[in-house]
Amino acid sequence: MEQAIDQLLARPGIWRASETARHTGARGEHIPTGFSVLDTALPGGGFPSGALTEILHDSHGMGELRLAMPALARLSRGGRWIAMIAPPHIPYAPALSARGMDLSRVLVVHPTSEQQSRWALEQALRAGTCAAVLAWPEHCDDRSLRRFQLAAETGNSLGLLFRNSLAAGQHSPAALRLRIDSDNGQRLGVRVLKCRGATPGPVQLDDRPAGALHEQQPLPLHN
């Protein structure tokens, strides 16, 4: 029964009062994370498209990019673009390429101020030309997050915000909030903090052969 309702709700013609978007091209689409345990834990089976997902982590280098990489690799081959707004360091092309990213589809934006970053993030989300937009906002109030969420809905773009774990205590309109607990290079510990229609809790992403999560291996592509 529940499945039938889910199917019904996934139809593009169905409008749900909980959603403010009226014009997303394909509502309710999800992008598999590439980690089957996580995909199972998330309703819809992955990152919600046309919405914000927050990835919270204590500091850089905790596996935060690795968590998104299989989905990004797949999206980069889907005809749309991956935009990185003000990444904290140089996105290292050999690593991205080894993870299966199509580099010709990755745009790096270098704004010179926090204000410019916000503007660029909103524009890229809204434009409809980016399958995913990655950003590392330093301070984010509720109002800007709502704007980003609206822009992501409009452009049917996956908005990935990488934020410090301290933001976990703050309210957020993001559809999905994940926190990186640990990463030992093979096993990625992730906690679901918030997800529409799912119970928060920890997920150990170690179900795949170790090699598949190893940087050296290009990830299998789904299309």
Binding site: S59, H89, P91, Y92, L96, A131, D183
Partner: protein, 426 residues
């Protein structure tokens, strides 16, 4: 054939041209056969549409109502030849001539002013006692041609159906533009919503008439001083939803400020796309994997580059060089890529590379970065670049610190054999 001429008598040529475009787009509601050939006018072939609109009178009423709504001052003329309709409209009268045989009688009372004759010629004609077209027609053709020129005589003949009167057909534009001037500079952007909303309404009305949609709308705001600014609003699939476009535009306006007042707004649509409300693309990725994605991409690059500067946008390329800092490059969008992807077989590389390697403190010989580092991999020796003087000799390791960060560090094999942080396994 029956022609309806809409004559827009406006001394301001630019505004007149804009009016004519609007009229022509609007006139598609009545007929697909439209011409902008005769000066200052839009000609509609309505003979084929009379049945559909239930007669001439009903059609005229609809046209009249529409014109009132458009707010463009217009004289109309109806006649079996385009030129006759044009002359009647220019004369400001609108008694329609329906049949060819009525043309001489109908055109006879029109004053000579409707013909584009020079002042000197007009005076000469008045000297001959000619004040109307009817009187002019009584003069012998040869003499008339000598006095007022072949062109005017031919115009008369075309009007009377004595000479072919072909009119090149006007085709609806591939894009839409409209312009707005403000009498007083607008300093508060909130006050722009209504007039800009009006432009969007006009756009969407045209789109409905042409059964089209757009993906992009560019609105250029002209300030009293300084450079004009262009705001771009974009949607993913062809749209003509005025309210949605207005909402998007409003968001774009919110962040905008300008010290100087805005005196003009110009709307330019992207290319018109065919619009099919019933069948939205089933698979978004499939729908976008055509060349329109490339255009959209350029729009995004233009949009971001416009505000941030092109220099702040780049792509990253992997480059076959063993030295980690040279194994990648930034590339400007639009520049061609270095070509085939070279994927050297090497141990894992970090997602983040530091701009410059960070020199690490050591305590009792052990490197520290937010605590003591534990090396988790065997050394990867990189020795390269002896040929260009930028040679390196390093041992790279994956290391972990007490914070749980995974780091890419190296020890220089020369000089002080110092430790450096070069990347983060994000």
């Amino acid at each position: 054939m029956l022609w309806l001429c809409l004559f827009a008598d406006d001394p301001n040529r630019e505004r007149q041209a804009d009016s004519l475009q609007r009229l022509a787009n609007w006139a598609l509601e009545f007929t697909p056969r439209i011409s902008l050939n005769l000066p200052g006018s839009v000609l509609l072939e309505i003979g084929g549409s009379l049945h559909y609109f239930r007669g001439l009178e009903a059609l005229r009423q609809r046209v009249q109502k529409g014109l009132e709504k458009l707010g463009i001052p217009i004289h109309t003329g109806i006649a079996p030849t385009p030129t006759a309709a044009w002359l009647i409209a220019r004369a400001g009268g609108d008694t329609p001539i329906i049949h060819r045989r009525d043309l001489p009688e109908g055109l006879a009372p029109l004053p000579l002013g409707v013909l584009s004759v020079e002042q000197r010629q007009a005076k000469a004609l008045q000297g001959l006692g000619c004040r109307t077209i009817g009187e002019l027609r009584r003069l012998p053709v040869a003499g008339l041609t000598r006095r007022i020129g072949r062109h005017v005589v031919e115009t008369l003949q075309k009007a009377h159906g004595e000479r072919p009167d072909p009119q090149p057909e006007w085709k609806p534009a591939q894009s839409f533009e409209a312009h707005l001037d403000f009498a007083d500079p607008v300093t508060d952007h909130q006050q722009l919503h209504t007039p800009l909303g009006g432009l969007i309404d006009r756009l969407c009305t045209e789109l409905r008439r042409q059964d089209a949609g757009i993906l992009r709308v560019h609105i250029t705001l002209t300030p009293t001083r300084g450079d004009a600014r262009t705001l771009t609003v974009g949607v993913l699939s062809p749209s003509r939803d005025a309210e949605h476009l207005k909402a998007l535009l409003q968001q774009r306006l919110e962040g905008q400020t300008s010290a100087d007042g805005i005196i003009g707004a110009h709307l330019q649509s992207g290319p018109l796309r065919s619009f099919n409300n019933d069948s939205p693309p089933l698979d978004l990725l499939d729908a976008l994997a055509d060349d329109s994605a490339q255009n959209d991409w350029q729009t995004l690059v233009e949009l971001l580059g416009h505000r941030l500067g092109e220099a702040q946008l780049s792509l990253v390329d992997a480059y076959p060089d063993h030295r980690p800092e040279r194994a990648w490059r930034y590339r400007r969008p639009g520049d061609s890529s270095p070509g085939d992807e070279h994927r050297p077989d090497h141990p894992p590389r970090p997602g983040w590379l530091l701009e410059t390697p960070l020199s690490l403190d050591t305590r009792q010989g052990q490197p520290h970065y937010h605590g003591a580092l534990v090396l988790e991999s065997p050394a990867e020796r990189i020795e390269s670049g002896w040929w260009d003087g930028e040679d390196v000799a390093r041992d790279y390791y994956i290391a972990r610190n007490p914070r749980g960060q995974r780091l890419w560090v190296y020890r220089d094999r020369r000089g002080g054999r110092r430790w450096y942080l070069h990347g983060l396994f994000a």
